[in-house]
Amino acid sequence: MHNSSRRGAAVGDPLLVVNGVHKQYGSVRAVDDVSVEVHAGEIVALLGPNGAGKTTLIRMLVGLTRPDRGTVTYHIDGAERPGLPAHALGYLPEERGLYQDVSAARTLAYFGRLRGMSRPDAAHATAEWLDRFSLSDRANEPLKALSKGNQQKVQFASTVLHRPRFAILDEPFSGLDPLNQDLFVRTIRELRDGGTTVLLSAHQMQLVERLADRVILLSRGREVLRGTIPELRRTWSAGRKLVVRVSGDADPALLAGHPAVVQVDRTSADELTVLTHDDSPLSDLLVAIGSRYPVTSVLAEELTLHDIYVRSVEASLGNGAGVVAAGDGKGASR
């Protein structure tokens, strides 16, 4: 998969094992019997709609809250422990902010010290990260003088400047422009390649698709999907995705009742996106489309993570489907 992990943790070995954790707030089951494994050297994306329980699960992994039931175990240096020492963990919370009246340089050095770095190491890492994010010339300005994007860079750097073994990044891309999103994607990959295992929670599916080695999807506090993205595509696509462009009005109702069609959406005035059953003959469908619309082009696309996410979440909300592990032969019902 990647280079060997540093500091003794073998790539592929479990770093984090979450076993049947529950967390309830009042009558709300925020996390309901979730079991997760994260292996050293991988980037795992923890996905789910708002309120799915991602942040609650993450808070339990960090030790900010305790599970009502179940266990969180880290395997580090040949020992099992319920939490990671400060120097081994990097945490970018969803609820985040910085000391607005303090400079970026002082902020980073402080967080480096809190994570166990020596003063010289923290100063060195601070300079390195400010340089990496092109903030060296603004190092001594108070953070309130920086743009939101630059503050986000400082926040990100404060999470990982000590090169943790395990970084939990909750919504790292929120509020970033596309250029900075790309910068963060590259940086997270570099971290992984340098031996940091990453658990990532994000809503930007196209970025997750570029980054994640594996995906875990939560909905209503339960795990509903897990696997690598190719595995998810194979398991979840259950057919093809056709993008049909027509000259004139693309009325989806004309295809709605066709037996080969799972779902049809008008994506623009003259464009339809058609999801088909895997086992239906494509030729029949193309004939049907040609007979109903003045077709100008047909494009077959791979199902995106966004499509898989939407379908999985809708399925879970519709009938409370259990976990779909990619490659286990189970399909999600619709």
Binding site: L64, T65, A86, Y91, P93, E95, R96, L98, R113, L114
Partner: protein, 395 residues
Amino acid sequence: MTAWQTTWEVARWEFRRFLKPKQLVISMLTMLVTGSLTFGIARVIGRSRAKVATVAVIGGEHVGLAADTLAKRIALRPRPLGEEAALRDSARNGDIDGLLVVRDVGNAELVVRRDPAWRLDLEQALTGAALKQRLAESGLEPGAMQRLTAPMAVEVTRPPGAGPGRAERVLTGSVLTLSLLGLMTGMGFIFAGITGEKQQRVTEQVISAIAPQQWIDGKIIGLAGVALANTLVTALTFGSLAAVFVATSGRPFTLAVDQPLLVPLLVLFPLLGFALWFAFLSAIAATIDDPHTSTKGSLLMVPLVPVVVAGLLFSRADSAVAQFFGVFPLTASTVLPLRLLMAEVAWWEVPLALVLLVAAIWIFRRAAGKIFAVGMLMYGKEPSVREIWRWAREG
């Protein structure tokens, strides 16, 4: 890093974050200028009070009113009866400060433009003179009359350790004022710092790195340091002004307290009080979600209670109640310094107060750490007092 190193790192951060040397220097200079101005204005006012009013007196011989009776405040100028009309005009016009017309030993008229500040002094002098005149007219021998009117001589002797004098009172007032100042300063920093951290959403990232107890300990140490620095600057500024005042006043300013550790104890106890109440304040501030709408603001006034208690005991420093509050840990930080300066302190009071106060600080910081751990991660809702109490007990 060890727990202590982490605590020290937080203390250093908080100290550097809140201590603004430039602002402190500006504040010190402002205080010096303001103090000097006030001192100067007081001197000017003092001199203006020393202005002697000129009062013409007609018929002063009826009561034997001597011209130098009120020499420091009023220059009495005996005038003949024939000038009365002209002098009345002068008094009405303000050419002289007043005209006193003594008709007989029981009646006099004072003609002035407006009611003067020295009127009571004049009336007392007239009454005294009239009394002497009446006694003289009653046929008393001069010796007997002198004995009857002679003031009682009271000699003040004050051996060392006999009780508080002016110096002790001034120093006690200064210690209490500085304690109050330190508490108020620290209170402001803690309130602004902790509620600000909550509002700026800094807390989760910090608490994922260090234990809440280390965080609150660091805050208490760092902010107590800032409060101490501010208080010291104020003490030095006003102390230097007071020294100038004492040196120029010519009045003695000597302490008669037989306690070899007086100065260290006067610093130590207020400092321990800072630690105790800053732990309390940190816990309360951690439970406040929005300082603009919080109902817990009134709890922030609780740390001022020991200063108020000491103020109430100022003139009863040697009472049994003062002795109790001097060792009671919630009030010892202010009442024991009061007693050290103003009363006889038994040998056991200082060590007992110290042990109890340190024990109370330990309990407060542990409870505050538990409240802080939960409160700092709670957004959008403020816990009830019952919930806070449960956190403090259970953690």
